[in-house]
């Protein structure tokens, strides 16, 4: 039986549903992964023949689901209700799956710890003094704790893969445009995509194929034209001494040894433009953010003052009260790089670097079927900025934002537990090469399946 099938009766069987509710409540007290959750009553669930019939899942709270709020982890949208359902979610609902809750996130997806959520703190299920990663920290934590078999997240620069790595689960960032962004609150439109956190490779694959598809509501969706799933040669990114923490470096070596053991041809690779990836990524991401977040002004909906001197003041007060400091920082940075006189220096140059990075990766994929690289340079860190400042957290996006810059798919795979904390490793494939990622991940899953935090249980499942 597939792992996911064990979930089909947790809501429909009264006894199991009761135990499931207790299980979710118990974990939520410890980790706070969900901003809002409600289990449908057994009697009210429509029977479905779908492949995910009655399977509960969680959705990051920057993705619209009718019947739930859409806070984006921000004060400015704290009481806003989603007026419609995102296409990716609607596609899953067609398979019978049921949304049970909305997962916490860094405000508007901006961060690597979920500490930037203005509404709630989310802890790592392996150690509650540490972060679950971000920005889809709630999605990854909920999956790791066994609250749901999978959850949807969004990935703009690593926001699905990094928390998946921190929580010891699988995290897929699909090829840009293969999954509709309709219903996703835009942050950096040319980089981001809806992704999947899940406990097994099989579930990741099932959910990916359920959510993808061309969508008339998103003119940037593309046809999924899969490349061959076969993997013979794995390019392993050469990582400079000292750029990874001791634990992550050790874990990376273990994953490399496993590839050798499994019989893959392993080839060391370098990406010369790598040092420019993060500055170019943040230039583009903040520029797009400054435009996308201009819509939140308190005029029609969202937080607003009861009185203002002028319409401009009304908007300024709303934005000032409603946005957290990280969001303001990125809006300001993005506004600055787009200002007249600075565009060529920053924004246009960043887009040219994006072209170069793409060319270098295309070259690598001519003789490597997939490439392996780290997810994040450290293991899950403690809450706050004492271990990694906000600036260091941004620099640490280097391995993940690469896939967003090129549009390629990337998958975080559990690699090892180091001192009791999960460490992941990442694989990237050419566009529409998701099946290659699943091929390698499935081989590695037999060597090291997703670990289980203390308190994890399946006893209420079938």
């Amino acid at each position: 039986m597939k792992d996911i099938d064990g979930w089909k009766s947790v809501l429909t069987d009264q006894d199991r549903a009761k135990k499931y509710r207790e299980y979710v409540t118990g974990w939520e007290k410890k980790i706070g992964s969900l901003l809002e959750w409600k289990l449908p009553e057994a009697g009210k669930i429509k029977s479905s023949e779908g492949i995910l019939a009655s399977v509960p899942f969680a959705v990051k709270d920057n993705i619209a689901v009718e019947g739930f709020k859409l806070t984006c982890g921000s004060k400015i949208l704290e009481y806003v209700k989603a007026p419609y359902t995102a296409t990716g979610v609607a596609n899953l609902q067609k398979t019978g799956a049921l949304v049970m809750g909305k997962a916490n996130l860094d405000e508007f997806g901006m961060g690597s710890s979920t500490d930037n959520s203005a509404l709630q703190k989310t802890n790592n299920p392996y150690d509650t003094s540490r972060v679950a990663g971000g920005s889809s920290g709630g999605s990854a934590a909920a999956v790791a704790a066994g609250i749901v078999p999978f959850a949807l997240g969004t990935d703009t620069g690593g926001s699905v893969r990094q928390p998946a790595g921190f929580c010891g689960v699988y995290g897929l960032k699909p090829t840009y445009g293969v999954v509709s962004r309709y219903g996703l609150t835009a942050y950096a439109s040319s980089l981001e995509v809806c992704g999947v956190c899940a406990r097994t490779v099989d579930t990741t694959r099932t959910v990916f194929h359920a959510i993808r598809g061309m969508d008339g509501m998103d003119q940037t969706t593309i046809d999924y034209d899969p490349v061959s799933p076969e993997v013979k040669t794995v390019g392993v990114l050469k990582v400079e001494e000292g750029s990874l923490s001791e634990e992550v470096a050790a874990s990376y070596r273990v994953s490399k040894d496993r590839l050798n053991k499994l019989g893959y041809a392993v080839k060391e690779i370098e990406i010369p433009a790598m040092e420019y990836v993060v500055p170019a990524y943040y230039t583009i991401a903040t520029a797009e953010a400054s435009a996308n977040l201009a819509r939140f002004n308190g005029m029609r909906y969202g937080l607003s003052p009861i009185f203002a001197e002028s319409p401009d003041d009304l908007m300024r007060y709303s934005r000032n009260m409603g946005f957290g400091e990280e969001v303001k920082t990125r809006i300001l940075l993005g506004t600055f790089v787009l200002r007249s006189g600075f565009q060529d220096q920053y924004y246009v140059r960043a887009q040219k670097i994006r072209t170069l990075i793409r060319q270098e990766l295309d070259e690598i994929f001519t003789d490597c079927d997939v490439i392996m690289l780290p997810v994040f340079p450290t293991a899950p860190f403690h809450h706050g900025q004492s271990e990694l400042t906000s600036f260091q957290q941004k620099q640490a996006d280097v391995y993940t934002c690469l896939a967003n810059m090129t549009g390629s798919p990337g998958l975080a795979v559990p690699s090892t537990l180091e001192k009791g904390l999960p460490v992941g490793v990442q694989f990237m494939a050419p566009p529409c090469g998701e099946e290659r990622l699943f091929t390698v991940a499935e081989a590695l899953e037999k060597e090291f399946p997703a670990p289980r935090p203390a308190g994890y249980s399946e006893e209420w499942r079938a």
């Binding site: 445009g177 920082t329 140059r349 040219k352």
Partner: protein
Amino acid sequence: MNKEELLTTASLALLELEEGEVDRLGEEIARMLDYFEMMTKLDVDGLEPTTHAFQKTNRLRADVLNNNNNNNINNAFNRNLIMENGNDVEDDFFVIPNVL
């Protein structure tokens, strides 16, 4: 970026910064801009800018009503649900606070 530049940028973005924020955010932004300077080391002559991962041209669709059909209710975009989010609503209009 000096303080004046920061305040001009904030005003363009309709953000009003409090005194403490000017220092804290200013410092973080200055650090990021320094970091962005690294991009000038690279010779980008002959490289075309990439604005979008795969699409090279705009995609157009027929100019016909093409409503979202993801909704459970009426299978169409639900205007009432949108209006419910208004801070203050009168008939079919959003009412904004008094501005003088």
